[in-house]
Symmetry: none
Subunit: 206 residues, 4 copies
DNA sequence: TATGAATGAGAGTTCATTCAT
DNA sequence: CATGAATGAACTCTCATTCAT
């Protein structure tokens, strides 16, 4: 933490964007050094090898991710309000760190998914907070368990970004620009409320 | 077309699984030949180059994907029933072709996503059928437009598979085994109905 | 000789032009088969291997070359006339068989010039006839020996074709078109006569 | 520039001789590295690719060639003397750089001769100086234009080297050894003078 | 800290050639 | 005669990584 040399940071930044753009295998250390404007060997001086550099990039995201969501969740409010804020924070975080979901997904599929644990840490906060927000409302098991809602909510957010770019043409405007993102947030709020409503009705009915 | 030389098929199959496991850049032609049990040069004999081979793999999925969903959608029934069947077909298709979403996602992010058109073709059927199933129920624009539900639904399905493996430990059992998949389908059905209900209430209320 | 299969001839022709255009190493058997419109394996059926095919191509030139010059030389006339005809025939032959000098030159330099004998056979006729035409006029040894004139004459012809294409731009018109070739012939005639004159004066003076 | 890393020079040298011996296509980077005694990858480290390395080899010749001829031409003397010196310098240069004409010729024929411009630069000095030496003596157009003499002179030099090796057996001694070269120079001097004489007579007679 | 030089391994691709049919 | 399939060797070039300075 001391005061990480400015060059080391430039390398990390370059690695970040490149890994996000082209994936681990599609990015060469030469590319990273070039974009960072440093000598190739320096990359190995600061980060032992390509793999470790990748790890650092991902880890940084995990930390920031955790912090961003924590703030959103810990504020006061009803369940609906808390989940709205959580969704908003999630959307905002990914909008600002487009590489993050790409890196995560790669991490899962690529290279035999050897580091499941690492990935789990990455999504753990959202899972945990979703579960806490739905505590007492959803059953512990079965198709309405909180974890299913976690998968649905996070999928609703992530998929927007994944396919957002691709759908641009048929969307009319760019869905990932500010208005598109605001619209998506509105959809997510509606989604949260519709599901809470459904859960409530179920509780009342049974 | 008839029998397309058994070796060529073996190569295609090997490429399929490897591209799915390690991505385009993470898979070498040597690997493919090895897994197919053929000479490396034979890969180039049947498929002109690595890129073309990848294309073939992806294209085959598109076709099967389209067919699988079409059958599910075109049968009779209420909107709810049709969407349930669509979700089920989608889940089943991906459960049987785990590589497909990985390949698609890679196609989008990797290498600048130059072939947006190809990807669009890949998700087009689901988008189209979702839109047709919600016709008259959802507005054409805004946060409740059909396309938002498309992104939500497909995200709810895809994300289950993406994170399913990773969540295994905290899930108790393997979520991607038959019982887990059945449970997810039940969740998706509930999801569809809760959203249709929400849409109906909105129509009635306004 | 029987009646060489038409396909075999097509292969020979294709090989001829391709070897001339791109050289031995720059030409692949695939290229040859493609241009000949036949299966690659057929090339090996008719000509045992690439090297042998090349040999055949070169040999055919030798024969035609020999015949073309012989006719020109054997007709009656003064030394000047005979040499004029020889030059003309040489120019005409190469104009019609542009590949020939290229193949010859490659044969000399490429692959260690292992087949000097073959090349010698190729240029032998011109050497021999030049020597016979100058018999009694030039000394047997020294800088005015017939062989020097052979090198000068053949160089004057070959170099015209070698650099002709390259000089096109600074030449105004294409030097290898009909008028350019006629002009070159005129130059060669003048050259022959000037040298004969020089040789005569020498004889008279000494 | 100063010392340009000794290994880089060794590579250039190896490339030079190999390209000269076997041509561009006939020379592999492995060969070059081997002869230079360095790692194959180092060739690409210093010279970006095979083509660029070839270019460097050729270019170096152009420069030396130009310098060698310039010195010979610019000294004082009659036309005859200047042309003699030019011929001598040309012969000497090629005798010392046997690869040069081979590389040039290949450059013309191989690979469609796409780089005519480069080749032109290579022969430009000789063309220009021949033209200047014959200025006022030869007509601007027609079969006695200076450019025809350029082709004749350069052909008389180049052809000597091209066929020199091949003729060795029938020559008695090696024509490319020192005495043979001296004899050729004598021939060329005689040639130049005979042609100047012929041109003079023509001027007087007409 | 920082870098130019160096390398072994492996990438995708083409090659001449063989062989069963 | 003719061909599609098959292969081992070689091709150019890039890779992550090391090391002396």
């Amino acid at each position: 933490m001391k005061k990480d040399n400015e060059r080391a940071k430039r390398i990390l930044k370059a690695a970040d964007s490149l890994f996000g753009e082209a994936g681990f295998d599609g990015t060469s250390v030469r590319d990273i050094a070039q974009r960072a404007g440093v000598n190739k060997a320096l990359v190995f001086y600061y980060y032992d090898n390509k793999e470790a550099l990748f790890e650092r990039v991902v880890q940084r995201y995990y930390e920031e991710h955790q912090i961003a969501l924590q703030a959103a969740f810990e504020a006061e409010g009803s369940n609906s309000e808390r989940l709205h804020r959580l969704m908003d924070a999630y959307v905002d975080f990914i909008a600002e760190h487009r590489s993050f979901p790409r890196l995560l997904q790669r991490r899962i599929t690529e290279r035999g998914g050897a580091d499941v644990a690492l990935v789990q840490r990455g999504i753990a906060p959202l899972l945990e907070w979703t579960e806490r927000a739905l505590e007492g409302i959803t059953p512990a098991e079965g198709p309405l368990a909180a974890r299913h809602f976690f998968l649905t909510f996070s999928g609703a957010v992530l998929n927007f970004f994944t396919y957002g770019e691709v759908l641009s043409p048929s969307w009319g405007s760019n869905p990932l620009a500010a208005p598109g993102i605001a619209e998506r947030k509105a959809h997510l709020h509606w989604l949260v409320d519709a599901l809470l409503e459904g859960l409530n009705r179920r509780g009342a009915g049974s």
